[in-house]
C-alpha cells in the first residue's frame, strides 16, 4: 500500500544555485518572513550566477536532479556588474543544446530574484516545482552504477 502511494506521487528533486548577493538573500528573506514554499528544493550558494559552470548543471542532472534553478540578480544589478549577463548567454545556449539533443530544456531555469523579493522567491520555487512535477522524473542521462 505504502509502495503504491509512493510510486503514484512523484516528488521532484530540485537544485537551486543562488547567488550570494541577491537570490540567496531573497531566500533568506522568505525564511525570516515565514513564507512557506515547496520543500523539494535544495540550495547551493554561489558567489554569482556567473559562477555556475554548465558542467555543474549537467552533473546535477546526471545525479538524478529533475530540475536545476539558477538564481541571480536582476540584469544591471549584479554585484560584479557583468556576472548575470554572462550567465544569461551561457544558459541560453546550453538550453538550446539540450533541447536539440532531446532533453527537455525546461529542466534548467534561469531566474532573477533580488534580496527584497522573498515572496517572489517562494512563488518561483512553487511554480517551478509544479512544472517539474508535470514533466516527470529525469531518466535519460542519469548515471547508473554499472560495474
Amino acid at each position: 500500500m505504502v509502495v503504491k502511494i509512493m510510486s503514484e506521487k512523484f516528488e521532484p528533486n530540485i537544485l537551486a544555485f543562488l547567488c550570494n548577493w541577491c537570490s540567496y538573500a531573497g531566500a533568506d528573506l522568505a525564511g525570516t518572513s515565514r513564507i512557506q514554499y515547496s520543500p523539494n528544493v535544495k540550495i547551493i550558494r554561489v558567489m554569482c550566477s556567473g559562477r555556475v559552470n554548465p558542467v555543474f548543471i549537467l552533473n546535477a542532472l546526471q545525479n538524478g536532479i529533475d530540475g536545476v534553478l539558477i538564481g541571480g540578480c536582476h540584469p544591471g544589478e549584479c554585484h560584479y556588474e557583468t556576472g548575470n549577463y554572462l550567465a544569461r548567454r551561457r544558459i541560453t545556449i546550453l538550453k538550446k543544446l539540450l533541447e536539440y539533443i532531446g532533453i527537455d530544456s525546461r529542466r534548467i531555469k534561469l531566474t532573477w530574484v533580488s534580496a527584497s523579493e522573498g515572496q517572489k522567491f517562494a512563488d518561483v520555487i512553487n511554480e517551478y516545482t509544479a512544472e517539474i512535477k508535470k514533466i516527470g522524473p529525469i531518466k535519460k542521462i542519469v548515471r547508473r552504477n554499472e560495474w
Partner: protein, 316 residues
C-alpha cells in the same frame, strides 16, 4: 589546380630566412591516396611537398609558439579560420607565424571516395577539371562530379580564400556555396523523443577515444575537463550517461569558437555526426548574437562579453 611550383618556391623563400624553424605543409602518405602533414626544415626535402584535393588535414593544429623561431604553415580557407580563432584567443602570436594561404576549391572526403571505388586505392593521381575530378590509379580512369566527392563542409563553404595570409598561392576565389544549415533545420523539426532516440544511438557508439578532441585545433586546454580528477566531473566508464555529457560538454566548450573545419567528424572512428552538433551551435550563435567565430582576430570571445539587450530579456 594549385600551382605546386609556386608553392614550393614560396616555401623555399621562407626556409631561407634564418629565423624560421620549419614550415608545416603536406606530403604524400604511406598509402597512395592518403596525404600527411609534413614539417619541412631542410631545403633538400622541397620535392616531397604536394598539394592536391586530397590534402584534407587542418594544419593549424600543429602550429605553436613554443619556440623562439617563426613557424610557417600552409592553410586552406577553412583552416585559416582556425588560425584566426587561435590568434583571437591569444594562443598564437601573429608576428611569429608565416601563413601561406591556398584558395581551395574543396577537398575529397575519403569516406565518399571509398564508397565509389572498392579497389585498393594506391598510386592515385587526382586531376581537377572544372566541376569534375579525374582520378587515375593503375591506369584506370574514373571521372566524378565534384559535388559527389567533396566534404559536406566544402559544399557550403563561405571562405574558400584564406581570411589571413602572408603569401597567397593562386588567385582569390569567390565563394560558391552559402551555409543555410539545412541539415540542422530538418533535424530540429523532429519531436523531442525522436531527437533523443537519434542521439542515444549515436552516443552509445562512442568509445571515448577523444580523437575528436585531440584533432581539434581549438581544443588546447592543458588539462581537459574529461580527464580532470579533482573534481572528477566525468567518469571514465563508457555508457550513455557519461558519453552524452562528454558530447554536450565538448560541443558547449566549442560554442562560439568552432570554425567548422569538420576535423572531429572526419577522424571519428565510430562515424558520429559531430558536425550536426557543432553546426547547431554555430547557427544559434549567429541568430542570437550575430557572432561568427574565426572571422576577425580582434573580436572579443562570445562568452566573455554581453550586450544588455541580449536575447533572454523575458526571463523573470
Amino acid at each position: 589546380m594549385v600551382d605546386t611550383k609556386k608553392l614550393k618556391n614560396e616555401i623555399l623563400k621562407i626556409l631561407e630566412k634564418k629565423d624560421v624553424k620549419h614550415v608545416i605543409c603536406y606530403t604524400a602518405g604511406s598509402y597512395g591516396f592518403q596525404t600527411r602533414p609534413f614539417f619541412i626544415s631542410k631545403k633538400e626535402d622541397i620535392e616531397k611537398i604536394i598539394f592536391s584535393p586530397l590534402c584534407l588535414h587542418n594544419l593549424s593544429l600543429y602550429v605553436n609558439n613554443n619556440d623562439e623561431k617563426k613557424i610557417g604553415v600552409v592553410v586552406k580557407g577553412c583552416d585559416s579560420k582556425s588560425v584566426v580563432q587561435l590568434i583571437q584567443e591569444k594562443q598564437l602570436d601573429r608576428k611569429k607565424i608565416i601563413i601561406i594561404g591556398i584558395p581551395c576549391k574543396g577537398v575529397i572526403d575519403p569516406k565518399k571516395l571509398r564508397e565509389k571505388i572498392s579497389e585498393p586505392l594506391e598510386q592515385v593521381d587526382v586531376k581537377e577539371i572544372k566541376d569534375k575530378y579525374i582520378i587515375t590509379f593503375k591506369d584506370k580512369k574514373h571521372e566524378f562530379n565534384k559535388k559527389d566527392l567533396v566534404f559536406d563542409k566544402c559544399l557550403t563553404c563561405e571562405h574558400p580564400t584564406p581570411i589571413i595570409y602572408d603569401v597567397l598561392i593562386d588567385e582569390k576565389i569567390k565563394p560558391t556555396g552559402k551555409e543555410k544549415y539545412e541539415q540542422v533545420k530538418t533535424f530540429e523539426k523532429q519531436t523531442i523523443d525522436n531527437k533523443w532516440k537519434f542521439w542515444e544511438e549515436q552516443f552509445s557508439k562512442c568509445i571515448r577515444c577523444y580523437a575528436c578532441r585531440n584533432v581539434c585545433p581549438i581544443c588546447f586546454c592543458e588539462e581537459c575537463m574529461a580527464e580532470q580528477l579533482n573534481p572528477q566531473w566525468l567518469y571514465r566508464s563508457v555508457n550513455i550517461s557519461e558519453n552524452t555529457i562528454w558530447h554536450i560538454m565538448r560541443a558547449f566548450h566549442l560554442a562560439g569558437r568552432c570554425t567548422g573545419c569538420g576535423e572531429c567528424e572526419r577522424v571519428c572512428p565510430m562515424d558520429i555526426p559531430l558536425m550536426l552538433l557543432n553546426k547547431k551551435l554555430e547557427k544559434e550563435i549567429k541568430e542570437l548574437y550575430d557572432y561568427i567565430p574565426g572571422t576577425n582576430p580582434e573580436n572579443i570571445p562570445l562568452f566573455a562579453m554581453y550586450k544588455p539587450d541580449d536575447p533572454g530579456g523575458d526571463i523573470k
